[in-house]
């Protein structure tokens, strides 16, 4: 709405300045009226000068307006972003520690990932469609961010909510079909529960069928964690890879600024 109001103001101003007749009106600016009084008569070169002057003034004024609007908009967006970060910090997810096995059988704790930006996703390998979709999305985000050499490498993590079936071997088979840097994490049901609780992840295995197969209902969110291990943002199914990459990029840029 602000934009259209500003646009209308600019257009009206432009119209006013360019179409002002030579007679003095109640809304004439003193500068123009003076010039008009001094240069009476059908003199074409002075008419051109008048027009050029008006154009220049209009452009400068319009430029100034546009510049101010742009600046104010950027400030507002930056404020929005900082506010959101503050709110999410208050939520304080991911404050605890976790100790899990990666898909190669090595023990990993949260400490191992400090110093990297992390995109974290909880899921399970028997997931019909959502987890592969989300992991494909994360892979796309990481690949897009990798292209920008000025940004640090992002570490994608996949933590299982189905430790009964998703052992190290199962994870190994699963993660290799996504981004090469994706690390799968599993452990005992207790260890996995601790990790999930830290991010308030809801996970509920459904009823088993005669094959013993079941679907785990779970929170579908991608969490962004900064190099200090602080939870900064989350992305749901509605966000596509381009939007997520943009958001991560913005977080990385603000992070650098704060630590300077």
């Amino acid at each position: 709405m602000c934009n259209s109001v500003l646009f209308v103001v600019c257009v009206e101003l432009l119209r006013f300045i360019l179409t002002r007749s030579h007679s003095r009106g109640p809304f004439s600016l003193p500068l123009f009226t003076q010039r008009v009084a001094l240069y009476q008569g059908p003199n074409t070169s002075t008419a051109k000068i008048r027009l050029r002057t008006r154009l220049v003034v209009t452009l400068l004024f319009g430029g100034g307006l546009l510049g101010t609007w742009w600046y104010v908009r950027n400030e507002k967006q930056q404020n929005h972003r900082m506010q959101r970060i503050e709110q999410l910090k208050k939520v304080a997810l991911g404050q605890g520690d976790f100790s899990l096995l990666d898909h190669r059988g090595h023990r990993r704790t949260k400490r191992d990932f400090l110093g990297s930006w992390v995109l974290l996703y909880f899921g399970f390998t028997h997931c019909p469609d959502i987890c592969p979709d989300e992991l494909d999305k994360i892979s796309a985000v990481v690949s897009a961010l990798d292209k920008d050499r000025s940004l640090p490498a992002v570490q994608p993590l996949f933590v299982t909510v189905d430790p009964e079936r998703d052992d190290v071997a199962a994870l190994e088979r699963y993660v290799k079909e996504f981004h090469p840097r994706l690390i799968g994490l599993t452990g005992t049901p207790e260890e996995v529960k601790v990790a999930g609780k830290d991010y308030r992840v809801y996970a509920s295995p459904g009823p088993k069928d005669e094959d013993g197969d079941y679907i785990v209902d779970h929170t579908i969110l991608i969490y962004l964690v900064n190099p200090d291990g602080l939870f900064l943002d989350y992305y749901n199914r509605m966000k596509d890879d381009v939007q997520i990459a943009e958001s991560v990029r913005n977080h990385m840029k603000s992070y650098v600024k704060l630590s300077e």
Binding site: H126, P128, D129, E177
Partner: protein, 81 residues
């Protein structure tokens, strides 16, 4: 029973999409799409068949709500005082 790999997933999704296309074309008449139903059940784990069937029901319901509107169920009557 290990989880389906990427190729198996894609095969399952393919037969599911074929089935759904057939159902859309035949106004959800299941008997016209028996062939696709069998293919779908053959390429997907039983749990996934159940899941996708439920999903389709949900999507149809959502579509109905969005096009036809929604009648809220009558709640408890407000007190007179």
């Amino acid at each position: 029973m290990s989880a389906p790999d990427s190729n198996q997933r894609k095969a399952c999704w393919g037969t599911r999409d074929e089935l759904w296309k057939c159902l859309d074309y035949n106004q959800d008449n299941a008997t016209s799409c028996e062939k696709f139903q069998k293919e779908f059940e053959a390429s997907c784990p039983a749990q996934w068949v159940k899941y996708f069937t439920k999903r389709r029901d949900f999507l149809k319901y959502k579509e109905k709500m969005q096009t036809e509107g929604f009648e809220p169920a009558a709640g408890p009557k407000a007190s007179q005082s």
